[in-house]
Amino acid sequence: MTTFTQKDPVFVVVQLSGGNDFMNTLVPYSNPAYYDNRKFLNIAEEDVLPLDGTLGWHPEMAPFKELYDKGMVSVVQGIGYPDSNRSHFRGMDIWHTCAPDEVSTIGWLGNVIEQLDPRGENPLTGVNFGVGLPRAMSKAGVPVTSVSNLDEYGLMSGISAQQQRVQALQIFKDMYGQAVGSGPVMDYLSRTGMDVLSGADLIKVAPQQYESTVEYSDNPIAKSLRDVARVHTANLGTRIFYTQQGGYDTHANQLPTQPGLFRDLSRAVNDFFADLEEHDADENVVMLIFSEFGRRINDNGSGTDHGSGGGAYLVGKPMAGGLYSEYPSLERDKWEKGEDLAHTIDFRGIYGTVIEQWLGLEAAPIVYGNFEQINPFRAN
């Protein structure tokens, strides 16, 4: 493992929900096969932001390219897994659980959080921003905190009078705090209630302490990443953050949709790291940006349908930057299922890379096997 920093390593996951079109993210503009197969939905050569003479970023990703040019982005090309499942939910489940052959309820980050905090002492070891806990973070007995609105997070937040809210919270604590042993479900409820209570109590300092000159844009992913920054810079011991940006399911109208998403995303990620840098809190943070699958090689005239291989991005100061694995072949006989980009590296190898080389844990018990890893981190 790199010992880039003395601080505990922190890992931020950004999930692009819906299946992002990798071919129009990192565009193989020098390859005629790209224009042959993407007749309608292509990015013209003069519009891409060139990266190395063969590939170029989507024109709306300038702020992201800026990070790449600083060496802060290690791109994982062709990420996927064998026999990719094109269902969003099943596909996402597989990414969340590392279990392609069974329906599992144990998330890979649930396992990670359990190892980082085996006795569940800090309910903020893992924090999700968004509605509903992603399965990636869930594991029975592992407390995590899921926040939909950081400024109003917490039980009884609708009781406006402060004194009465404090009183209500004390009674809530009395009701949930007893180890009753009246059945596993009741006990589970007690534990969950107490975790919510203590998590909310701890996390509420974050918005109070935070100050920054970085002005994030007004959109969901920017808001979420600002929340991550607010909690991270409050030093509450959070090691795993999770959030998502929706809208990538571009079966139709991809041309007007995807650029807006990229604009929001790349600006937000750039602002996030600038914010962390301002707080001298960026050296121990690595971000993974992924999506549940790539999209079909041929467009459908308006959008692209669900595909297989895609791309992922590891971002942060500790990264060595550059391109990893191989860009999936555009030659027709190499296509997966006759119509998708074939994956060139298994996502479980990328998780393993983060788990072992960044978080310092053993990967095999978490991703259920040994998968090829990459070396995307900067040598010390």
Partner: protein, 467 residues
């Protein structure tokens, strides 16, 4: 009506419906428990809910551009219907035959399927499976429109057997293929093109020229089967009756393990499920006799607060108590928001996560969803002018003694039974507020908030998370 009888009826209405306010319980006080069960399984005895006011206040319901407002309308129906089991069975079948809006993005089909469950949900397994096989929303969801005689698509055939009728382990891979062949040519058509007409209802069509007319062997029987024949055969199987009865038990009586475990773990109460299977099979798949038996059984009557409420039950049940979102909506009540209310608790109605449906029981609960559940229920009693709270206040009479406050409120909210530690914590609050005078308007104005706080604490309990 003695307390036990009242509690039992309240239990029945929480499970077979979405709960009941004290006034509703009183309105049926002259009926016996058994008569109420009869009424529940015969919703046609009661008037259908009138949506006129709702549509007047929510003109966007006339458009078919998005499903959330219609999912909200569904919750509004759960709150206000005079036919609670009709809506509950629609929710039941929506759990079992999980079909999501996100794939087809076609609102008329999405809401049409729920309407179908309302109409056929209490009929007969065979009828329901045949209707389901012809439902355009399901047809598109499981790709049967891509199931062609020269190129079968197995998705529907597989899920019909695995998730909708028999369950894993009761058929072979070859049976899946044969079932798929029998359903070739079962597709749908759009009467009007999407552009410029927008979303109009799709209709089932049987495309004979695309149907595989050759011989099939399915579950040991051979013939030139069509889809109906496959369903006839499925309905003869005890495995199907077991699957349906276990679902009913899981949904109405007691939380079972998650469905993927059913092929390994036996039912919680095998005798109960066996008895239900026998009734279902001897009545040729008719559901009313099974439901009648189930609701009147001791195992049902003894299952008080044994099930974790699903988010729809929590939302609709709490709003029934607060009297909000009534037939005539009050100002500021936008039914569309109810969709999101349940969605943040993990149940986006009309959008289950996968064809396997929602994970239920304690899996409804995590840190995020518990926070949402508690805050939602608590917030419904911030406003002491809500009709439901005013009713509760009125029932407390001209004064309430501190020592009685907990019991009286627990009674009016359920009756709900709580554990000792919950009772102690609530009693501590009751002691702090002391005896409360309610005889004059000034007294009531002063003390209503304190009583509302007690209700808020009760709906924040662990016990309230259960039905």
């Amino acid at each position: 009506m003695n307390t036990n009888e009242l509690a039992l009826k309240a239990h029945l209405l929480r499970r077979a419906g979405f709960g009941a306010s004290r006034s509703e319980l009183e309105s049926i006080s002259d009926k016996s428990y058994e008569e109420i069960v009869e009424d529940l399984v015969h919703p046609e005895r009661f008037e259908e809910i009138d949506e006129d006011y709702l549509k007047r206040y929510n003109p966007e319901l006339s458009y078919h551009d998005g499903h959330p407002i219609h999912a909200g309308r569904w919750i509004w129906r759960m709150i206000n219907t005079k036919r609670p089991l009709e809506e509950k069975m629609a929710l039941f079948w929506h759990h079992v035959f999980a079909t999501a809006h996100y794939k087809g993005d076609h609102t008329p089909s999405t809401i049409g399927q729920i309407e179908m469950f309302r109409e056929n949900g209490l009929t007969n397994i065979r009828q329901i499976l045949i209707d389901l096989s012809k439902d355009p929303h399901m047809n598109y969801w499981l790709d049967n429109c891509e199931n062609h005689s020269d190129q079968p698509n197995e998705n529907w055939g597989r899920e019909l057997l695995e998730l909708f009728s028999m369950g894993v382990g009761n058929y072979s891979e070859d049976d899946v293929k044969q079932a798929a062949r029998a359903f070739t040519g079962w597709t749908f058509e759009q009467p009007l093109p999407l552009y410029p007409y927008g979303h109009y209802e799709s209709k089932f069509v049987f495309n004979e020229s695309d149907h595989d007319n050759s011989e099939k062997t399915f579950l040991g029987r051979t013939g030139n089967f069509n889809g109906e024949d496959i369903i006839d055969i499925i309905c003869e199987e005890r495995a199907t009756a077991l699957f349906i009865c276990r679902h009913l038990y899981n949904f109405f009586v007691e939380d079972e393990p998650q469905i993927p475990a059913w092929s390994i773990e036996p039912p919680r109460n095998p005798e109960a499920v066996d008895a239900m299977i026998d009734i279902l099979m001897s009545n040729e798949g008719e559901l009313r006799p099974v439901l009648n038996y189930m609701f009147n059984s001791d195992f049902f009557k003894n299952s008080f607060y044994k099930k974790v409420k699903n988010p729809s039950e929590l939302v609709a049940g709490t709003l029934k108590l607060s009297g909000r979102y009534a037939v005539v909506p009050a100002e500021g009540e936008n039914v569309g928001t109810l969709y999101n209310t349940a969605a943040v608790m993990g149940q986006a109605l009309m959008n289950p996560p996968t064809v396997e449906g929602w994970h239920t029981g304690h899996e409804w609960i995590d840190g995020g969803t518990l926070n949402e559940r508690v805050n939602f229920a608590v917030n419904q009693f911030n406003d002491v002018s809500s009709p439901g709270f005013e009713d509760i206040l009125g029932r407390l009479g001209s004064a309430v003694k501190s020592v009685d406050l907990v019991d009286k409120c627990l009674d009016l909210i359920g009756p709900i039974e709580v554990g000792d530690e919950t009772r102690q914590a609530l009693s501590k609050y009751a002691e702090e507020v002391g005896d409360l005078e309610l005889s004059t308007d000034e007294d009531r104005a002063e003390n209503a908030k304190k009583i509302a706080r007690m209700i808020q604490l009760i709906v924040a309990t662990r016990e309230y998370q259960f039905a």
